[in-house]
Symmetry: C2
Subunit: 464 residues, 2 copies
């Protein structure tokens, strides 16, 4: 059964709608109706006649139509009864935003079981409990308290057992561009397999980034992944004893054996990450950069120490420092003082003093991109106001050499400068504050690309 | 022989002084004389009569006095001859800023050998070549192009084979506060042992943070470290084959066996880091936080997923999630809705909805700090504008519980908010954008503190 009614319902009931600004049941309606006029929104509230200009209904069975989706934000104890009322009226899709279920206590676990039992009776799909729902930039539907116009359309779907992606992290997601964000909460019914199945057929999504605490049905998960051609990046919470214990008071999920997940991810070319930072770093690189032809990197850096630490990091992550042709080096040497060494990693400091930052970075980056031995280029620039160059030069070079990844490093320094560069370059060229983060992301891009090609070749040889 | 004349010379000659704004030999004089009036600065330039209001001298031997320090910024080929001239005149301390020596070519290696041979003849100490010198906030002396008033006084010395610390990274060092910054360059003469020996007796320094590509005299290094009571954090460049190769075109240093360094650092409680980011993270934590009594952490977080990933990271880094007393949990439960679980890691979301961010974070942090089972507290707060709280509440708590480390996490979100929090809290309380960075730094603080106590006990038992 498709989840379409969750992502693009024609009509929605808000059970627990509130007329008090600041309450969840108020903000939800406010955000849902502010920019989205194409669907019907019905607030359910026995004490008021209207909320935000919408007529309210005292009970679900007084609605003029059977809505596609009901969103429940009432107290946990009252939820099972409400599932009965929704089911009796014919509603087939429900999001439970309320907390106080399996994540909270033994009583909560019972309530959650009760909810599920009742839902099954009516053939009803339930997302949550403890879920703030979804944002869909294609359909324009949004259930969290975040106004959908604050979310930039893009080609990445974020799926998680957390509302973090739809609250605190919104400004970060914003830089990337989003197709869908889904918070599954406790996954009493709708789980990662249901959501993945829906999203791998979604033409607006290229990359799926997930935070999960457990996969319920491994076999089904594998079947879905096997027919998917999208990039899947996964942050698995609860890898450790402490982490697994914390999971039980978050969503009540069973975490499972860590090494089983490791093996699963390795075999099916799913990219595992250890933190949200890494998750966003990878998404930024995968959404904007082509797969490199090989693992040979050209590094252009403002300091010798930067070249040294970047080289260490490349080797740590399985990348090679590219051998650059003598022709390339000759072309670059033109902007250098005679005494200075010209090689990869390229320390541009002495050249900057002679020729100026902009000309040196343009020349070096372009020659590295043009060199057949270089598979990807990482220009490292001090993010400081005295570094005089028009950062858009990298956009021109990206257009000229679209087949090779460029990842820019605006080396720590002044945070304002870094933010400005991000604004100008991203999402075309990802910008990181350290070479280490850029190198790690590039290494995973290379590994994933290589494994994808192997997978495709194998599929060609052994057609199903 | 002390390096005092490098850090606090009474008189300085600038060989290669320039009257052209934008040139190194101009900026150097400009910055050195702008705020520092207590020492004599003599520009050496045969073609001009004055630079920036200072009388110039055509040759070093025409100076009215033998200066404490000469700084050389002329072309590499002319440097050996200039060493002869300085030595003949009686100058004992020289910084060579010029590049084009061992880091550049075979010819440069010869030039460097020549420089050293001549310097030895005159009993002269040479820093560099390829060094931009030092900043000393106590003496007010500064040789890089950075105005010394831009550098905040503090208790951390940064020592490196790179000018990065005195250029791009200045805004970051700024937040921490600096006693000295030293760029040793190629270390043809003055090396890390000379500088360490000087700085471990420097009463204005508590922490020494180093970037090095090699240690020349291991035995001497150990002797110095053994009598030091300062914290030493080291980023060793050239750990890998590629890194070592990059070192040869940076400072021409020999990197040595990686495992020898690992063993050395482990035995002498030197803290190794793998990136500049980690170097600054540790400095921020070590300079402001006490050593914890144990490895049990209290984590307060805005989301369940945040608690899960932080728990995973704690276990990865050898920290434990603290068992919190039931009295503590009772006190915290007062700000929670009845259905919500209260434990460590503590998810405050439901409490915020009931009681408000500020009261919840204050209550939870204070109760965790007061609990005997908790050795350190990490509050994780979404760095977003809708999170309403006065961040200074943590400064009050720090004063009340000075014996326990607090490290704040302003979780990604809006960069402006994070910068504002850093400005208000640092250096008293370090602020990181991810829990992972806070946890890694805390784990190293705990390990270092534990080993330091062992070392002191051992010293008491076996007095030298």
């Amino acid at each position: 059964m498709s989840l379409r009614s969750f992502f693009d319902p024609k009509s929605v009931a808000i059970i627990g709608a509130s007329g008090t600004p600041g309450k969840g049941g108020y903000a939800l309606i406010e955000n849902m109706t502010k920019t989205d006029f194409k669907r019907k929104v019905y607030p359910i509230n026995p004490k008021r006649r209207e909320i935000l200009g919408l007529k309210t209904y005292p009970k679900i069975n007084k609605l003029p139509e059977v809505v596609d989706l009901a969103i429940i934000v009432i107290n946990n104890e009252a939820v099972p009864q409400m599932i009965d009322e929704c089911g009796s009226f014919g509603i087939k899709n429900v999001i439970i935003e309320s907390g106080g279920f399996a994540e909270a206590s033994e009583r909560g676990k019972e309530l959650e079981k009760d909810v599920l039992r009742k839902a099954r009776k009516f053939d009803m799909r339930v997302m949550g409990p403890n879920s703030i729902g979804m944002i869909d930039t294609s359909s324009g539907f949004s259930t969290p308290y975040v106004p959908i116009e604050a979310v930039k359309k893009g080609r990445v779907a974020f799926v998680g057992q957390t509302g973090l992606l739809e609250s605190v992290f919104i400004p970060l997601i914003q830089n990337i561009g989003v197709s869908k964000v889904v918070c599954m909460g406790n996954k009493c019914d709708v789980d990662e397999c249901d959501v993945l199945e829906y999203i791998i057929d979604d033409s607006s999504t290229d990359i799926i980034a997930m935070y999960i605490e457990g996969i319920r049905d491994g076999r089904r998960f594998i079947k879905i992944i096997e027919r998917s051609e999208k990039v899947l990046i996964v942050l698995k919470g609860g890898r450790t004893t402490y982490g697994a214990r914390a999971v039980s008071s978050h969503t009540g999920t069973i975490c499972g054996e860590n090494r089983v997940y490791d093996a699963l991810f390795e075999q099916y070319n799913i990219i595992p990450v250890k933190s949200f930072e890494e998750l966003f770093d990878l998404v930024k690189v995968f959404i904007s950069q082509p797969f490199p032809n090989g693992n040979c990197v050209g590094i252009i850096t403002v300091t010798g120490a930067g070249g040294v630490t970047a080289s260490d990091c490349c080797e740590d992550n399985g990348l090679e420092i590219a051998s650059v042709s003598s022709r390339t080096l000759e072309k670059i040497r033109e902007v250098y003082p005679t005494w200075a060494p010209v090689k990869n990693p390229l320390d541009v400091w002495s050249a900057i003093e002679k020729t100026g930052s902009e000309e040196v970075y343009r020349r070096a980056t372009e020659e590295f991109l043009a060199d057949g031995g270089v598979d990807a280029v990482i220009p490292v620039i001090g993010a400081v106001s005295w570094m005089e160059l028009d950062i858009r030069l990298f956009l021109h070079l990206k257009k000229k050499y679209p087949q090779k990844p460029i990842i820019l490093v605006g080396l720590l320094g002044e945070p304002d400068i870094l933010l400005r560069w991000k604004k100008i370059l991203e999402p075309e060229i990802p910008v990181f504050p350290t070479a280490e983060r850029a190198i790690k992301a590039l290494a995973l891009l290379e590994k994933f690309g290589r494994k994808s090609i192997l997978k495709k070749n194998k599929m060609l040889r052994n057609p199903h």
